[in-house]
Symmetry: C2
Amino acid sequence: MENKCILCAHKSAAVCKLTENGQKVLSKNSLTVPFRKGDFIIKQGTYSTNVAYLKSGLAKIQIVGPYYTQVVKIVKPGNYLGLPTTIGDKINQYSVVAIDESEVCFIDTTTFMNLLNDSPEFSRQIIIELCKSELVSYQNCVRRTQKQIRGKVADILLEFSENIYNSDSFNVHINQEEMGNLVDSSRESISRVLNEFVKERVIEMSGKKIVILNKEHLKLMSSRG
Amino acid sequence: MENKCILCAHKSAAVCKLTENGQKVLSKNSLTVPFRKGDFIIKQGTYSTNVAYLKSGLAKIQIVGPYYTQVVKIVKPGNYLGLPTTIGDKINQYSVVAIDESEVCFIDTTTFMNLLNDSPEFSRQIIIELCKSELVSYQNCVRRTQKQIRGKVADILLEFSENIYNSDSFNVHINQEEMGNLVDSSRESISRVLNEFVKERVIEMSGKKIVILNKEHLKLMSSRG
DNA sequence: ATAATTTTATGATTTAAATCACATTTTTTT
DNA sequence: AAAAAAATGTGATTTAAATCATAAAATTAT
């Protein structure tokens, strides 16, 4: 489906900086593709030919490691999925997988590079986003290595509530196996900690639904590691 | 000391894309400062007012975590030290510490932003570098979580030999405590593994000097995790 | 509705590496 | 050169979490 970027409700901050004409060029050289849960949006090892932008849904960035495939990051709507792997290397250095029904906008790489060339404001915004993203990577690195399981699980619950679902009550769209992946721990450990939290009345859980009862306590556990 | 960027032997790939005039502007708005081992080049929590570029020496990026300060990355000459923390946030989100005698070029942030604005080629090069850097972050993340100690130590030895000192024989400028920091393990574990490698005739070690005897084996251990 | 499959729960065991404790060596300071 | 401080080596112990094992519950397919 061809885009009408000017009318797009999910426009990126960078695209907002483009002129009307720039947005028209973009419209002509991009298209929106729907993905279902589990679908590969970008596949590690293949040639990267498009810049991808997550319009709606939820996705994860994962890399094949020596022992298993590791989730590096969750991406929310309004972010580019593949800039590092598209601009930094000809071959995709990671995969991006939809973890929920998603809409992805694919932009022709040459068009994208031309826009960077023609609009300093667009470039600047992209640079800002890359910088922020790198900071997040660094913080993730610390979280992954220093926090214990309870802190990690507290972290991901806060992430869900504050950044992803924007509510203290939400349905997690992934199973415990995958939650383990997200924070580098085993399925069993996630199950145990989640049930500890229920017993301690920090959260309520029924099926896929989680309600955060004591956010302060979660934050405490998150910062303590 | 004021710079003469045009004559600089350590010029960044991005600066090479600037016109002669652009480089003159840069010269007028930047200066080179020497640092000794252990000095803070950028300090987490302070305002970020300059873009820093590592001309020579070696530095590490570190973040205060819940339990200890963690090294996120080693930076080699020819790289910007503080782009994410300067452009991504007003306050420095990490520290940069010299791990060897270093020369750092500080560039006024406004000047840097103007250069980005005026030169698409400069911008593009910065974007490419940020993208590559993010890829490295992702790969570090996998290494940190999936590899075992022997793999991690093999990794860092290869890093020293292939990317930092460019030789199979080199003097490590950091102690084992710090090596542990770099790969998230304890001083004692580093000591043990290093001595195992000596016994297995993979490396030779005398004081700070390390000679790699069997690089193939190191690579094997690195990829196996 | 029933069977098959997936997901979750939970106890027991194992494991890799951290920590502790202390000795020895090396480097730095006086 | 002697003393002090820092860095390294190595065994014993502890620890957090993975793995293993099995059951129960929930979801999906037939």
